[in-house]
């Protein structure tokens, strides 16, 4: 009888034991990918169907959940350009033009498969709610829904490695359900300072068949910045912050 009661109690408790907290997983993913405030160097390589490559190098600074600045160091034609994101607001500063203009998350300042929302990505928890979470063997599958209509992708499907608590694949969907692109994370690297994360992110899109873009990280480390850096007036001077 005791065994039977124990079995019933176990079966009743099983769903609670098995239930997973999607929001907590997403928070861990955010912090495992990057510290809240950091600097890093990134290389964006756009590969055309014929194999031709175009390479951009960016220096990036992020503060808090939704402030990020990216400075172009290469190619020479883009050198000195700076993009700023504050929440849903994005600007592009072009040295020749001498002032910042507003840009949209769906554009791409590099002309790559990565759009501005990918290049100036802020915390997933700042933009998305977890609509559903499930376990699939070695991974969690999180279904994310954009908090507002201003977010570049209406829905994300994110496969998270259970052990590393890092994303493996993310599918990005429009509100219509159309798959816009797929992001593939790989090449887990120890950046020091307790940061161990994928150093490579590749993307492809059914809307740009044959084209592929790859983002690689280097020199990712924690660094605190003043709020004033994340303002339009500071953009012409951003490159002076590099050490």
């Amino acid at each position: 009888m005791k065994r039977l009661l124990g079995l019933i109690a176990f079966l009743v408790a099983l769903p609670a034991l098995a239930a997973i907290d999607g929001a907590q997983i997403l928070q861990k993913v955010d912090r495992n990918l990057e510290p809240e405030s950091y600097e890093s160097y990134r290389q964006l390589t756009d590969i055309q169907p014929d194999g031709t490559k175009k390479v951009s190098v960016l220096y990036t600074m992020k503060k808090g959940r939704d402030k990020i600045v990216a400075l172009f160091l290469a190619p020479a034609s883009d050198k000195g350009r700076v993009t700023l994101r504050l929440g849903d607001n994005m600007w592009l500063y072009i040295p020749d033009v001498g002032r910042a203009i507003r840009i949209t998350s769906l554009q791409s300042v590099t002309g790559s498969v990565f759009n501005n929302a990918d290049i100036l990505r802020i915390d997933y928890t700042a933009e998305y709610d977890v609509a559903a979470a499930e376990e699939q063997g070695d991974v969690y599958l999180l279904s994310l829904k954009a908090k507002t209509g201003e977010v570049a992708y209406d829905r994300l499907k994110m496969w998270v490695d259970k052990k590393a608590m890092l994303p493996v694949t993310i599918e990005c969907y429009a509100a219509s359900g159309l798959l816009i692109k797929t992001l593939h994370f790989s090449d887990i690297k120890d950046f020091g300072g307790g940061i161990k994360r994928p150093a490579t992110l590749a993307t492809d899109s059914p809307l740009q068949k044959g084209y592929r873009s790859v983002m690689q990280w280097s020199g990712l480390k924690k660094r605190e910045f003043a709020d004033e850096i994340f303002t339009l007036n500071y953009l012409p001077r951003v490159q002076e912050l590099r050490k």
Partner: protein, 435 residues
């Protein structure tokens, strides 16, 4: 937060796929040390531009510009430009510069020009505070083609609004604060701009130290600027601008500026020039829209408060006719010289009228060709219905090389803005190599 019960475990092939796809990506090398900050930087571009002009021989500006020169129907011009941009870091300060050197040759003349566009030393004792002195091109306003609030800058060319421009010698500061909440940013930029016999001579009358200032606010996701320039070399003026994203892909912007006691020379058709003085109000309303198919549309309406009405412009063009009639009949060029002088002043501005619209549509990666951007730009004088249409092809697929082909088509009757310009058509091919 929604909790979901675990379904039967599903091993995802996507995991393997994800690992397989970037394998090729890992072959791409990335060494960030090559991009370490250096004490100095030097870059810029070399540009070659070939232009073929169809001259408008009946136009007022053709007749005035080519006075005493061999008359021709067309002109080919070649221009080579070298722009150098550099930085030198020392201690807490940075010296930066931008120079422009050009050589120009056409069938009637050749010339060269060397200009320092910017050369300024700046120090930043705190991230929120910068002081700088030297030659600086400050760009104020939110308009794409025009900036009525550009108080301390040389006028923008609406045919090339993204081109770097020469600045003015000045001392300026920048104070930035981020209070948080609805008011995300406050920034204050005071400016002192001297005009002496050999400094900033083209800004206005000499022997003035011109004060100006701009206050920028990012308030509830809207950019707001309030600007002022005190009376000195130029009449006092003030204004404001705004820019905001209505939706992710739809931005609106505007500028408003008032110049106090603006003096406008006005000629009648006999060449009698009077100066009309009064407050002049200019404003601009614009939008930028990105469609789902990656077409960017820019549209602006510009009310030029310092411009000439249809009647005032018409009197100038009739005066030019009168002046050339006198030259032919009497041999006296007195009136022609007066007309020439007016044409080199406010009558000869790129947009001397009062009401303009600007429209541009550009398609990214057109015809499935990445980095290929065709565009069409139109600019019209709403008062006299003359206009200019500019189809354009641009390709940026080669590393650091920009190729652009543009055809300017001007249309307008006699006595109209675009109908009296120097050229009626222009074909322009430009190659710009960045280094």
């Amino acid at each position: 937060m929604k909790r979901v019960r675990v379904p039967a475990p599903l091993r995802l092939p996507v995991l393997l796929l994800a690992l397989a796809i970037p394998a090729a990506a890992q072959e791409i090398a990335f060494d960030a040390s090559a991009f370490e900050k250096k004490p100095y930087e030097l870059g810029g571009y070399l540009e070659l531009k070939q232009e073929a002009f169809d001259l408008h021989r009946d136009g007022a500006f053709y007749r005035l510009t080519t006075l005493g020169l061999p008359q021709r129907e067309s002109l080919d011009r070649t221009t080579a430009t070298l722009q150098l941009v550099g930085k030198l870091r020392y201690g807490i300060g940075t010296f930066d510069f931008r120079t422009s050197s050009s050589l120009q040759r056409d069938e009637s003349a050749h010339s060269h020009d060397n200009s320092i566009y910017e050369a300024a030393y700046s120090i930043r004792p705190d991230p929120g505070f910068t002081l700088e002195a030297g030659k600086r091109a400050l760009k104020w306003g939110k308009g794409y083609a025009w900036n009525p609030m550009g108080f301390v800058e040389r006028p923008k060319d609406p045919n090339d609004p993204q081109l770097a421009r020469e600045g003015f010698v000045m001392a300026d500061a920048d104070w930035i604060a981020s209070p948080g909440g609805a008011l995300q940013t406050i920034a204050f930029t005071p400016v002192l701009l001297p005009v002496e016999s050999n400094i900033n001579g083209d800004f206005g009358s000499r022997d003035h130290l011109n004060p100006a200032a701009k206050l920028y606010l990012l308030y509830k996701d809207t950019d707001l600027d309030f600007a002022w320039q005190g009376k000195g070399s130029r009449p006092a003026r003030f204004g404001f601008d705004f820019s905001r994203n209505v939706t992710t892909n739809f931005e609106i912007h505007g500028e408003w500026a008032r110049i106090l006691q603006f003096a406008k020379p006005i000629t009648n058709n006999a060449g009698h020039v009077t100066t009309e003085t009064g407050d002049a109000t200019s404003f601009l309303l614009g939008l930028r829209y990105l469609s789902a198919s990656d077409t960017t549309y820019i549209a602006e309406y510009y009310r030029n408060g310092t411009g000439y009405s249809d009647d005032e412009a018409g009197q100038f063009y009739r005066f030019v006719d009168t002046a050339f009639t006198q030259l032919q009949q009497t041999g006296s060029d007195a009136l022609v010289q007066r007309a020439l002088s007016l044409s080199q002043g406010s009558y000869g501005r790129p947009n001397p009228g009062t009401d303009y619209v600007y429209f541009r549509a550009q398609q990214k990666d057109a015809l499935g060709i990445v980095y290929f951007t065709p565009a069409i730009t139109a600019m019209a004088n709403l008062r006299d219905h003359s206009f200019q249409v500019t189809p354009e092809l641009q390709y940026t697929g080669f590393n650091n090389l920009e190729l652009r082909l543009r055809l300017f088509l001007l249309h307008g009757g006699s006595g109209t803005d675009f109908g009296e310009k120097l050229v009626s058509r222009k074909l322009e091919l430009l190659a710009r190599y960045y280094f």
